[in-house]
Symmetry: C2
Subunit: 120 residues, 2 copies
Amino acid sequence: MVQYLQGRLDAAFAALADSTRRGVLERLGHSEASITDLADGFHMTLTGMRKHVRVLEHAGLVTTEKVGRVRHCRIGTRRLEEAAAWIQQYQDLWYARFRALDDIVEDLKRQEKTDERKQH
Amino acid sequence: MVQYLQGRLDAAFAALADSTRRGVLERLGHSEASITDLADGFHMTLTGMRKHVRVLEHAGLVTTEKVGRVRHCRIGTRRLEEAAAWIQQYQDLWYARFRALDDIVEDLKRQEKTDERKQH
DNA sequence: TAGATACTGAACTATATGGTTCAGTATCTG
DNA sequence: CAGATACTGAACCATATAGTTCAGTATCTA
């Protein structure tokens, strides 16, 4: 199940690693759109845009529904929350480490001053 | 400069899209490590690990320093903050949109009830 | 029903990625 | 100085990605 989360994070981050796809997410944040809408907006063929949308779907960042000829695309945020949570978790860890380093540096500075005083 | 940010986000998200690299970041959160340490820990050749570390360096998520024969690897969080900020920004936008949708749904429900009452 | 519209799938191209091996170079240690 | 250690660069492989074109199918509209 850890592997499963790994796979989902892989897919979510990989999907976010392309500026066109981030643009699509932004666009879909304002209103839903068809493949044609998106292809026009990003100056790309329908086929090309369909591929991007499929990547976003597999990453769980977008859901689509075909109504008649038209495929309606909408955003879904759950995977994005997972990605944000991953970053947040390690940021917290790393900040703790940086604070620890800061403390060490502070200690060293304090000790330097003490040593100076002793030498005078 | 927007392009420049796009490139940095591309690199940061792409770097995060690999579970080995996320593992390396986690590992470096606890203490700094050499290429050999990391290669051993992730059962990979030195050359393979060096490539991952280079990707993390280019993404600004890791800094390295060569001292004698040994390359010391440390985490750096600034780019991660950028990635988190990007996600956060659009999450806010999307949540606003979801709330708007919720409101519409609520309105429809209320109207349904009113209609029911009228029909009785 | 004819034509336009919206999408889909297959095939192809160019480039990137994740990994390897192998043959080095540079640095440390006894 | 000799050998061990730590890394580096080139070359290679298999697979994935980002994009295209072209030839469909399915659905709407006049």
